[in-house]
């Protein structure tokens, strides 16, 4: 078979197909320039082997499209899930902690100010213990202190309940993403066995992996059969090949009725309790904030309310009121510190009658006897059972919460920079450059035009040949 004009026409036709495929690829890339998880595709063209010879010289037979591949950097992609998980965890935790304003040191009506104001009212009272208006002021400030404990405890508790609502929402997202990943594994297997190319499925799978990592901190691993499975941070698999585990949540009575996580594993074994704080990603951040700094703050506030009120009650009960009777408790408290801050109230009998405040140290009580008031003032600097004074304790609570919040913020900034750096690296390889695609498009267009010109020329040559006989 020679290098005849007819075969030139045929092969030029095929070459047009290859170039228009290259244009389609460039067009597809441009169209997906903003699609998350999309990896730039490359049309690989190759020269057809020479099959004809003319005087011993091999003459080529044009170009054809070999395949369409993706530009991906495995090295960067392997680091992505961990970076996304870390960023999401610390950012979630930081956001949750920054949102709590109940422990702000300058907050009007916050614990630091009401504790100060209460002791201040005792101090003023000590100078004239028989004065009914000063007694009333002590009662007012004791009431404000109890209310402040209630409000602070409620603010922390509603922050924790709010995180629970997010957790429920995220569980749905995790389950959907795990299911999607398992489905994609299945589709990719089917597509492969049919000999097809599955670039878009691979992109979608990578996106699902990123989503699951962001939500749970799970890391992907390959099972050797082309599936991408994912393991939770402690090593248990969440997705194995084409089956996915599912999370669910039930109220936990041992943790104020907040949600407890349960995992139904990929192998279908019955649901078992799962420690939410062991997760990474958004879920880990939510559990970390809920059962970490916020729980610590709630417990410490409870402890402070209980210890401080108990110390004041003890002093009151050791003294004598204006009627010469032994003093009664100033605050009503639960039996243990659990929930003390949210339930502390001022004793209604004392609230109704300021004369019941015990200022005196002896009976019958002289109206100027302030010995017991001085003892109450002294509790301000005396160590509570926790080892620190009331003022020292609230200072520690604020500092400890602040430290957790500042750490989460710093981590969020660091992890955010890491993730965005990796994202940049991934984009550098896999992202679409519009300028570049424009060049590719023009390149393909010019080649297309040139091949068209070849066809026109071959056509003219054939015409010339045809017209010889006329």
């Amino acid at each position: 078979m020679g290098a005849d004009l007819f075969s030139l026409l045929v092969q030029s036709g095929n070459s047009l197909g290859a170039h228009s495929a290259a244009m389609s690829v460039a067009g597809n890339n441009v169209a997906n320039a903003n699609t998350p998880g999309y990896s730039r595709q490359i049309a690989n063209l190759t020269a057809n082997p020479a099959v004809s010879s003319l005087g011993g010289a091999g003459v080529g037979t044009g170009v054809s499209l070999v395949n369409i591949t993706q530009a991906r950097d495995q090295f960067v992609e392997r680091q992505m899930p961990n970076a996304l998980a870390a960023q999401s965890r610390s950012q979630t935790e930081s956001d949750a902690l920054s949102a709590l304003t109940a422990l702000n040191p300058n907050l009007q009506g916050g614990l630091p100010t009401t504790i100060g104001a209460f002791y201040s009212s005792l101090q003023t009272w000590s100078q004239n213990p028989g004065d009914p208006s000063l007694r009333q002021s002590v009662l007012g400030n004791a009431q404000a202190l109890a209310t402040s404990f209630n409000q602070t405890a409620n603010a922390i508790s509603s922050a924790r309940t709010g995180l629970d609502a997010s957790i429920s929402g995220k569980i749905t997202e995790v389950n959907a993403a795990a299911k999607a990943l398992a489905d994609l594994n299945n589709q990719i297997q089917i597509s492969k066995s049919a000999g097809g190319q599955s670039n878009d499925l691979l992109d979608a799978r990578q996106a699902a992996v990123d989503t699951l990592a962001t939500l749970t901190g799970a890391t992907p691993y390959s099972d050797g059969q082309g599936n991408v499975s994912m393991a939770l941070p402690n090593g248990t698999s969440l997705v194995v090949g084409i089956s996915a585990g599912q999370f669910s949540a039930i109220p936990d009575p041992s943790n104020n009725g907040l949600l407890k996580l349960q995992l139904t594993r990929a192998d279908g074994s019955p649901p078992s309790d799962w420690d939410g704080t062991s997760l990474g990603g958004t879920m880990g951040g939510l559990f970390g904030a809920r059962d970490g700094a916020l729980k610590t703050a709630a417990t410490s506030i409870d402890g402070l309310a209980f210890d401080m009120a108990t110390a004041l009650n003890t002093v009151q009960q050791n003294g004598f009121d204006m009627n010469g009777n032994p003093g009664v408790a100033l605050f009503n408290l639960p039996a243990t510190s659990t929930g003390a801050a949210s339930t502390i109230t001022i004793n209604p009998a004392v609230a109704a009658n300021g004369r019941l405040l015990a200022a005196g140290t002896a009976t019958p009580t002289a109206s100027g006897d302030n010995g017991n008031v001085l003892a109450m003032i002294a509790t301000q600097s005396q160590a509570l059972p926790s080892g620190s004074s009331p003022v020292g304790t609230i200072q520690t609570i604020v500092t400890a919460f602040g430290t957790s919040s500042a750490q989460a913020q710093a981590l969020a900034a660091h992890d955010g920079a890491m993730a965005s750096n990796l994202q940049t690296l991934r984009d550098a390889t896999s992202g679409v450059s519009i300028d570049e695609e424009m060049v590719n498009l023009t390149k393909a267009q010019k080649a297309f035009e040139a091949v068209s010109k070849v066809i026109a020329t071959a056509n003219q040559m054939l015409d010339t040949l045809m017209s010889i006989g006329n």
Binding site: P105, T113, S120, Q123, Q127, S367, G402, A406, G431, V432
Partner: protein, 294 residues
Amino acid sequence: MRVTSRMSFDLAQAQMMAARDRAVQAQQQVTTGMRVDHPGDDPAAAGVMVSQGIAIQRLDTIDKTTSGAQGEVQTADGALQSVSTLLQRAQDLAIQLGNDTYSATERAAGSQEINSISSQIVQLMNTQVGGRYIFGGNVDSTPPFDATGAYSGDAAVRQIEIAPGLLQASSIRADITMKGVGGGVDVFSTLSALSTALANNDGAAVRSSVTGINQATDQISSALTTTGGILSAFDSAQQIGSVAKDSAQKVLSAQSEVDIFKATSDLTLAQQSLQATLAVTAQSFNVSLLNYLK
């Protein structure tokens, strides 16, 4: 590095957000004047703000309480000085009328004056400040002395805190000063004895009462020394308290408040950087091959 379209858009977006965040934070610092709002802004400073805030409040109240007690002790001091003057007059009368050249009528008039001095002293010892009797110890709701000079107060000395944890007596014991508890003389009995001696025209008894009146004067002087001591303790406590409050205030300000010059320049810087970021971003969006392909 291969720069792709999304990279430049993402970067522009991130930079704009960061510049805006900085500008808003700088603005917040300038408008509120506070460096720390949330404990996470600076945990150590937040803790210091809590403890120093309470400490300042305590020092403030102690200062007010001390001022209140100071008023009482100053009044007590004034009353005791008047008592001292009255006793001086009683002593003068005793020495003068002890001379037998004075007639029974003149001594009877002296007796009247001593009775009046005695009831003036009772009134002085029943002085009230803000509705409370200041010479009755802890019994501050009823007059400590009746018309005969009988004492119904108690033996307590009132105390207040003049510095955190430091108690200071804020009253004198009228039972010692006026009634001679613990080995002194009873001022009222001494005066009444003098009055009786004068009424009876008993020259010798009048002369011998001078010793008792001297003792009574000494008791008042000693009480005045006590009130003086209390007042000077209050004064120095208030001065020390005011220094302590100033330094606590300084610590608090240093930890919680912004340096306004720095904050203002930070704000200007942040605003300029935001402006520059916006300008550069808008410009970079215009540079594309698409503009040149026709």
